[in-house]
């Protein structure tokens, strides 16, 4: 759970020593059979070839862990290629999972356990694994050619290079084939279940419940019962292998994180799923049909897929011919009175920018969901980055302000979607929601909200004339604004008497007719800006228990790593204040005052300092950037070191 900035658990969580490979064991308890050790948290990384099913394996382990009641955070990491050449470094796919008996914030810096399905997976991941950690390798793949392919001249399993680790060589492929020999499957078919064998082994090691995975396999392969049963058998064989073989002398327990979770019903959820549900919820709360116009793009496509499943909520999804048509259709639906959404990633935003400008001019509600990925250009499609902030802020011709909302954790994507919808509907404006690849694919437990606590987003369409001319005639002026919000009326086609024309050419204030008048243009530009500047957003909260002199300011998905780093620093006796922005345009009203309270402001971002640029420009604050653009989220330990350096500088 990542929602409580100042919970008692924060003192303990991730505050600990720089992670070493050994799993921290508060106490040990022997049992009749094998030894069982209790741990407070574990980080496991499954790594294999793209075709080895590592994402599925990770997902299943996550589900088991979630239903067991641990807090957790995940980091899937996979190549952009659908099937890179087998056994190569670019083809390695991994899934990291951090789970604990208390509140945690990140998928963890370094794994305590690495499962390497082949030499490439070992090679690609070993640098992240601290000495003393456990490494489970599939020895069947450590033959001459696969090893040579990734540059191992001698076997790392035999040449002593892994001496510092707790190595478990397991012939996963052979054992799986042996376990499935009565199923009448070809060797190749049987081999495919080796990920389930590995999952079974790990499930035994960490006392995970198994019913969920067995039910999942039977449902997934409902049409191929033979394959379903083979997978279940491989899964059970892996479990039994752990229980019987002497190589695995110890298993571990991580107790449920009962303290970390407030009362409620929970589920595990990824950012893209939470975002999709947030959009459906926003449609319900606004009593408007949701219309998604989209074009497939990594890492946003999951939202298109998810919303397409929920047509019984009245959700329309339109897969357009390109990014431009995706947002075009959404804007057309917005004109017609729908809760309109387009989903994309950075390159798609670039293509949509002209239509976003039109939406600014038309002043219609529209959600633009940008699941940021590495850029520029095609960049790193499956990796995370926060480098679209300035594109969202400024990437249009003319003065075209667009509000920006950023979720901080996977589960928070749900609330962020509702908040973005609130702003779009209340102020009749396009709104950017900036998620990213890390939030999109990462997951965590989510306290399922009660429906009666969701915000009321209902809007009033214009129903009749709103202006009286000098001669007393009642007329409808499409650009006559609400004095409070500066929003213009939303008059949808089909409303008698309100026929009107809108467009991208500058409009006369009030009437909305074409106007080239210089003074009117100046007024309209300033009014559109004032409308966005005046959007109600909550004050930014500062977490500063010890009157620190340095403030760390973040936005978006860096929340987890920054908070974990702050906990570490505080645990080591350093004081630092933390604030995290959900709203970047407009900034919270109190942000300037907050920034001026501190001697130093540090802004960690997964870009080259985009928020820092905005902060410096707006508040004349000497904000320091700490940047990382390697496609991965910050690691708490490194970030803590960087923040400490900033405090001492």
């Amino acid at each position: 759970m990542t929602s409580q900035v100042s919970s008692p658990a924060e003192q303990a969580d991730e505050a600990g020593e720089a992670l070493v490979g050994g799993q921290r064991a508060p106490e040990s308890a022997g049992t009749g059979g094998k030894e069982i050790r209790r741990l407070d948290r574990v980080i496991i990384r499954f790594a294999g070839d793209s075709g080895d099913g590592m994402q599925l394996t990770g997902d299943r382990f996550t589900s088991e862990t979630a239903s067991f009641g641990n807090d957790l955070s995940t980091l899937p990491n996979f190549p952009a290629e659908i099937r890179a050449p087998a056994g190569t470094l670019p083809g390695v796919s991994s899934f990291q999972l951090h789970f604990a008996d208390h509140d945690i914030l990140t998928p963890g810096d370094a794994p305590n356990v690495l499962v390497a399905m082949n030499p490439a997976a070992l090679r690609a991941n070993i640098a992240d694994v601290p000495r003393g950690a456990e490494i489970i390798v599939n020895t069947d793949e450590f033959t001459k050619r696969p090893m040579a392919k990734v540059g191992y001249e001698t076997s790392p399993l035999e040449d002593g290079s892994l001496e510092a680790y707790n190595l478990h060589p397991v012939p996963l492929t052979t054992l799986t084939i042996e376990a499935l020999k009565d199923f009448g499957l070809s060797r190749k078919e049987a081999e495919r279940s080796k990920n389930m064998f590995a999952l079974g082994l790990l499930s035994w090691m960490y006392h995970r419940p198994t019913e969920g995975t067995e039910a999942f396999l039977r449902a997934k392969f409902a049409k191929k019962p033979q394959i379903a049963e083979a997978n279940v058998a491989a899964f059970r064989a892996g479990w039994n292998f752990g229980e019987t073989t002497e190589d695995f002398a110890v298993s571990y327990e991580v107790a449920p994180a009962s303290q970390a979770f407030p009362t409620g019903t929970y589920r595990n959820i990824s950012g893209n799923l939470a975002l999709s549900y947030g959009l459906i919820a926003a449609g319900r709360q606004a009593d408007l049909p949701v219309y998604l116009g989209s074009y497939p793009i990594t890492p946003a496509s999951d939202i298109l897929h998810e919303l397409s499943k929920h047509k019984n909520f009245g959700v329309r999804t339109f897969q357009a011919e390109d990014e431009i048509a995706g947002i075009g259709a959404a804007l057309g639906a917005a004109f017609g009175g729908a809760l309109a959404v387009t989903t994309t990633s950075g390159p798609g935003v670039a293509l949509k920018s002209e239509t976003i400008g039109l939406a600014v001019s038309l002043e219609l509600p529209l959600l633009i969901i940008d699941i940021q990925r590495g850029g520029p250009s095609t960049g790193l499609p499956t990796k995370t980055e926060q480098a679209d902030l300035l594109q969202a802020m400024y990437g249009r011709n003319g003065e075209a302000p667009v509000p920006i909302v950023a979720p901080r954790t996977p589960a928070d994507c749900f609330d962020a979607a509702l908040d973005a919808a609130r702003i779009a509907l209340t102020y009749r404006t396009p709104v950017f929601l900036l998620s990213d690849g890390y939030l999109a694919n990462g997951s965590e437990p989510w306290r399922i909200p009660e429906l009666d606590r969701l915000p009321d987003l209902r809007v009033q369409f214009a129903g009749g004339p709103n202006h009286e001319l000098a001669d007393g005639t009642e007329v409808f002026w499409p650009y006559k604004r609400d004095p409070q919000t500066l929003a213009r009326p939303w008059a949808v086609p089909g409303t008698p008497g309100l026929e009107h024309r809108i467009g991208g050419i500058e409009k006369q204030d009030g009437t909305g007719n074409i106007s080239y008048d210089p003074a009117n243009h100046d007024f309209m530009v300033r009014t559109r800006q004032a409308k966005v500047d005046g959007i109600e957003v909550p004050d930014v909260e500062v977490d500063d228990p010890a009157e620190a002199r340095t403030l760390v300011l973040g936005w978006g998905s860096t929340y987890g790593p920054i908070t974990a780093a702050v906990r570490r620093l505080r645990a080591s006796g350093r004081s630092i204040a933390q604030a995290h922005l959900r709203h970047i345009n407009p900034f919270p009203r109190n942000l300037g005052e907050v920034l001026k309270r501190y001697d130093k402001v540090v802004v960690p971002e997964m870009n080259l300092g985009q928020l820092a640029t905005l902060i410096r420009a707006k508040y004349l604050v000497d904000a320091h950037s700490y940047n990382q653009v390697n496609g991965m989220p910050f690691k708490a330990e490194q970030l803590a070191a960087a923040l400490e350096e900033a405090i001492d500088a």
């Binding site: 929970y266 595990n268 431009i324 004109f335 239509t355 026929e499 024309r501």
Partner: protein, 352 residues
């Protein structure tokens, strides 16, 4: 095609009798004096009362270009959008609001150059849109560059030595893009224009109407041969469904199929070949003959230009299918239950 278009029945009817005046907005029309757009505007405003739809349920959406100012002059709902994108915006509106009659007004640059992709995809999807493509074979608003329908070798400001681009034939393009309704008409022929608009309005699905339109400033007389009374008789082939394709003085010429190539050709009508004259079948399932007709005109002289409805066939309409899927989803899974969706199948409860 059925007598009444079922989709048109979804659009509310006007309560009172309408006149052309009801469809004129209060905005001053600002096209160049003598522009062909005036004639099209008058024809559309004049025809709308015949359609008898509630004007608040009619929406005109345009892109950028001279013709795209059109919505400002219609007293309906309207949007003057951005260059080339009108079909996509109209698609969003039409697919989310089946109670609206949605019209797209576009030009040869807007529809075929910058917006070519949206046009072909709207046509293949068969969204319930009526697209009026004003083709003047020139860029007017940017003051006289060649367009995607300009003839090869055209001298313009951007092609002082002649254009190197082979032009599109919009009707051929539309048929190739799986259009279910394709027609061509001429700005100055009010009666013909109106009849084509009527047929387009009645069509369930995307209707593309190419309107040859004169730009008297930058490409004056581009279609003169089709308008000049003396020349038009030889140049224009008026297509009517179910009628033999004949033209010229007293129907002296006709269109027959070349038995060797399968292509169409123009012949002088004689007693011997009279029976071989092609009878126009706009509803033919195969687009082959409509396509051949669209290629009949001589690219240089415009002689043998067919006008009228070249193709009008019924096939599934995107918006209808989309609505049916929504209904089916409710039928299969019940109306969406948000609490159940959020709870999912795999949750756990923490008791305080």
């Amino acid at each position: 095609m059925p007598e009444t278009n079922e989709l048109l029945q979804l659009v509310p009817k006007a309560e009172a009798k309408q006149s052309m005046k009801d469809f004129k907005s209060d905005q001053e029309v600002r096209w160049c004096p003598g522009c062909g757009d005036y004639a099209v505007l008058a024809a559309v405003q004049g025809f709308m009362p015949d359609l008898g739809l509630a004007k608040e349920n009619i929406v005109f959406i345009s892109g950028i270009g001279c013709s795209s100012r059109f919505p400002y002059y219609m007293n309906t709902y309207g949007m003057h959008s951005i260059h080339g994108r009108a079909p996509s915006i109209a698609t969003g509106l039409a697919t989310s609001r089946r109670d609206l009659s949605v019209w797209v007004v576009t030009g040869d640059g807007d529809a075929l150059s910058i917006g070519g992709n949206h046009l072909i995809h709207a046509l293949r999807r068969n969204v319930n849109l009526k697209i009026l493509l004003f083709n003047n074979r020139i860029y007017g608003l940017t003051k006289g560059q060649y367009s995607p329908t300009s003839e090869l070798g055209k001298i313009t400001k951007s092609t002082p030595m002649g254009s190197l681009d082979a032009p599109f034939n919009p009707v051929s393009l539309a048929i190739g893009a799986e259009a279910s309704f394709v027609a061509r008409t001429v700005d100055s022929d009010r009666k013909h224009l109106t009849s084509v608009l009527r047929a387009a309005a009645d069509h369930p699905g995307t209707a593309l109407v190419e309107i040859y339109q004169n730009c008297n400033i930058f490409n004056d007389g581009a279609f003169e041969v089709l308008k000049d009374k003396d020349q038009a008789q030889e140049a224009v082939i008026r297509l009517e469904h179910g009628q033999p394709i004949v033209f010229g003085a007293e129907g002296s010429k006709g269109v027959v199929r070349d038995s060797l190539t399968g292509d169409l050709k123009v012949v002088a009508v004689t007693e011997d070949n009279k029976s071989q004259i092609l009878v126009h079948d706009a509803h033919a399932p195969s687009p082959t003959t409509a396509f051949a007709l669209s290629r009949l005109a001589d690219a240089d002289t415009l002689h043998h230009t067919p006008i009228g409805v070249l193709r009008s066939v019924e096939r599934p309409v995107y918006d209808t299918k989309m609505a049916e899927q929504l209904d089916l989803a409710v039928e299969q899974h019940g109306k969406g239950d948000l609490a159940a969706l959020l709870a999912g199948n795999d949750n756990w409860t923490v008791v305080g």
